[in-house]
Symmetry: C2
Subunit: 136 residues, 2 copies
DNA sequence: CACCGTGGTTCCCTTTTGGTAACTTGCTCC
DNA sequence: GGAGCAAGTTACCAAAAGGGAACCACGGTG
């Protein structure tokens, strides 16, 4: 098997040439997590302040209980958020962002702000494309 | 249907309170495109310089022809890349990044660089999590 | 006692995503 | 005339992601 599998040809930080196999590519690994349907929503909410499970559900009403649990577990697993159980009358659970999570979200928010600012242009491009390619 | 569907509670740029329904949420819309398995790889390659179809295949050997075509179409549709056909002997097609694409990639590269730098820490967190939650 | 609110888990099903392989059009090379 | 390259398209499938509804334990409350 002399066929190389390339992740990214060179490092974005150092510029040096690197070859990653698909299983060890940092970018695929990290992107894979934040590309979940709900991950950015949850990270965004928790970047503001800690929230309890129920509060997050109310913040993002169209998420299912199942997906909320799963998304939170995945984010916790990668070290982006902390899960703290408080032994209250009905035990409550609070989720909060870790320093690692904040530092990721800091970078990620660049993309989110870009999206907010340029959404109109993207929609326009899409409409133009659909008009020409689709109609003709 | 008086249940509101919230995208993000407030604007990241202006801080004002906003409610988006899921179909008009800029962030979901843009993230949805970026989160494809191959999108970032292709954007990354084309941020360096224009490439032809075949060259992209060679750069990313584990992408199938079908997915390469589809990813390129999607990126073109949203206005991130241009597709130029050259009437050479066998007609060749060159893909290049648009200004819109560059501006997106500029924001996105923050995340990619973060991933490169912090991949180790993420892997560590994951290992710790698997050791405690998984083993007990 | 039955019911509510916590924060989940489980099962099952549908949708989406991506992979494989074969076929296409036009031209060139041998 | 067959083979090959360019850039796709098409049909068919497998895997993964996600949705829906039901279930759990716990204590408090009417």
């Amino acid at each position: 098997m002399d066929q190389r599998v390339i992740g990214f040809g060179y490092s974005l930080t150092t510029g040096e040439s690197i070859e990653w196999d698909a299983n060890n590519c940092p970018i695929r690994d990290v992107m894979n997590q934040i590309s979940g349907k709900w991950s950015t929503l949850i990270l965004h909410a928790l970047s503001e302040r800690p929230y309890r499970f129920g509060a997050l559900r109310r913040l993002v009403p169209d998420i299912s209980q199942r997906m909320l649990t799963q998304t939170l577990r995945d984010l916790q697993r990668d070290g982006y958020i902390d899960r703290t159980v408080f032994p209250t009358k009905p035990p409550s659970v609070e989720y909060s962002m870790t320093p690692l999570g904040y530092s990721l979200f800091n970078a990620l928010s660049q993309v989110l702000m870009w999206a907010e600012r340029n959404h109109g242009e993207v929609r326009d491009a899409r409409a133009r494309f659909d008009a020409t390619e689709g109609g003709v």
